[in-house]
Symmetry: C2
Subunit: 447 residues, 2 copies
Amino acid sequence: MRLSRYYLPVLKETPSEAQIASHRLMLRAGMIRQEGAGIYAWLPLGFRVLKKIEQIVREEQDRAGAAEMLMPTIQQADLWRESGRYDAYGKEMLRITDRADREMLFGPTNEEMITEIFRAGVRSYKDLPKILYHIQWKFRDEIRPRFGVMRGREFLMKDSYSFDIDEESARKSYYKMFVAYLRTFARLGVKAIPMRADTGPIGGDLSHEFIVLAETGESAVFCDKRLVEMDTPKKDVDFDGDLKPIFDQFTSLYAATDEMHDKSEFDSVDQKHQVSARGIEVGHIFFFGEKYSKPMKAVVAGSDGSEIPVQMGSYGVGVSRLMGAIIEAYHDENGCKWPMPVAPYHVGLVNLRSGDEDCDAACDKIYKELTSKGVEVLYDDTGGRPGEKFARMDLIGLPYQLVIGPRGIKSGEAEVKNRTTDERETIAIDKVTEIISGRVADALDYA
Amino acid sequence: MRLSRYYLPVLKETPSEAQIASHRLMLRAGMIRQEGAGIYAWLPLGFRVLKKIEQIVREEQDRAGAAEMLMPTIQQADLWRESGRYDAYGKEMLRITDRADREMLFGPTNEEMITEIFRAGVRSYKDLPKILYHIQWKFRDEIRPRFGVMRGREFLMKDSYSFDIDEESARKSYYKMFVAYLRTFARLGVKAIPMRADTGPIGGDLSHEFIVLAETGESAVFCDKRLVEMDTPKKDVDFDGDLKPIFDQFTSLYAATDEMHDKSEFDSVDQKHQVSARGIEVGHIFFFGEKYSKPMKAVVAGSDGSEIPVQMGSYGVGVSRLMGAIIEAYHDENGCKWPMPVAPYHVGLVNLRSGDEDCDAACDKIYKELTSKGVEVLYDDTGGRPGEKFARMDLIGLPYQLVIGPRGIKSGEAEVKNRTTDERETIAIDKVTEIISGRVADALDYA
């Protein structure tokens, strides 16, 4: 994409309302714009990151055998009366009345609706197990939205729902999502640690939060350091096989959020392994059995013909929130430092003298070559001073910056900056496409 | 995908509320489920088609040089007061009050918001032209939602917005979207004819609707037959070049909706070329100049430093509605007949005797081979009678059905049915992957 045609409204000043790095940087780098309290427009650069996060989440759900669908944002109040949550949910639920005075709401979550959909279409135990998911915009009317997309009101969430005939089978579904989550977060470049969690308003018996460690995290967390260092399951992991050993491995060591923290148990962990830190919740999974299937009569016929309420679980990933969490983990005072898999573009190509015939020709050629090799390039073909161009590239944080100016043209060299390390090197202009496209491909190749 | 894990709740009975083929078939084939008046959940099969339509729309927007972003669904009432439309829009606007008694609304369109975003980030004529778009769920509180997704209340729309310094440049942006639309609809497999249109509540001077001819169309349309036969611009069309000749070519012949119909002009068309039919609107483009930029003060500095309100246009495609339009164009009494580019899966693989060792082995092998070649396969590995399996495959309408049974295993042959023509042929089992994957690739290769 040529920057001259793009919409990238970077800000020089730090907006005063932004208290944490991710919020500041997303506003400054022209990734989002606030359109109301806790409501954001995703400008082109931010939107690309959001789509990449979403796609990785999707691929790992598909790999685990879940089927994607999409439920509407607007739900009927009556559906929530069936589960008893319409009154229980409180003011966080955005309630709406339409022109015919029907009571509706902007969905904050979808347990009721998916249960309704399931019960309408599944009749027999032979049709189980099933895992369905969608990636959908939700609304929760937070009393104090803050920290940008980290605690917004309108937010993008992946939520999956599992349906099983009995608890043993339901646990297998739970393990599938558990392993899918380990892989999802690792592919996004963040280390998310599963921690025992309270089940809260969703209800149920078994629940884990996935927590990214970060200084700006909203809650205190405690865990065994060896968990942080554990290897993520590889892509050839067999989701039809026995996943319990992986689940056991990742839950055998101490890890708990503040709410579930057991000081005496934590004290028994060898001191050199004790980590007490702050964390950002990026995923939350629940097994809640018959909590919705029983009141809503989501039953299937068992092998003996009897009616059996299905065992359910739900599994959420905060897709838009993850973008904030990734920035919290990867930035410096000059801007973002995107991991390659979620970088809005892989390479920023800087033409130091746009309008100069030789510079334009060299940049146009590299732009075309890299693009034809599948490298995503944001090409700064605008006017403006070099200092302004460098600062903007640092701010938006693409993994590689490739700088071409009159001096380089003469010597046949391009300057390449790795934004992750801030190291610079010089590469011959006629080799730069091959070398950079190779590095990008390597960085995207995740096991 | 194995059908045993999928969620495909086909209905035997035709739902009584569905008056047109697309609505009936989408319900019967388990593609959608109604969750409220004019509000649908997209079940896995329907969701796949929706995503494919969306992706083709996106690719052609990107090709034309538009930049994708995403605006929130919830908007502030005050923004619409700036343009004067908050009161003018009437009861179709879903108005909402949040917990802090702020007046908000579920966006029915985004002219105001994009104007606000633009004015905050663009200062100079040098930053123009720009085209921004998003693909977003919208809500219009129709008094009488009907025809399934064709006139729903919550619907998916692609809307683009162009910003130019003067009318001449704005017309170029209009031509870009005009040509992008011709390509978009052709790639989706439908023939959409641009027709002069009334500008309606969006306002403006220049407007075209893109209309798919179909008996069940909502409005009468009149056009010159030669328009229907005109060749679509190829993918190497130069969006930076002069597109006026293409625009002129497609607007030189008579074509108008009922509202804009000029009987005497139509009568002057050679009778053998006169088409009077019914049509479904799938796209609508507008040039409306300063209608929003002036009241909302979206101005840029001109070359002499003066403040110039930008010239704007907006360009909509009804993404979810297109799914209905495509079914109206491609179906028979047994079900859908998807064009390859939007088919939920390319191939339906039918195991006539699931559980039989040889049948399972042969099907598993073909399933793996086809999948590894990028062919999307829905594998019916369930029990059930052959008649039930065939009827379901016809109903969901995948382009190819590939049938493997005990008799075929013995003779080394698979039966292949082309759902578009309903022709059957026999292909050697060991050649079937190569032949079918080749045909699928050919059908997906669009110029």
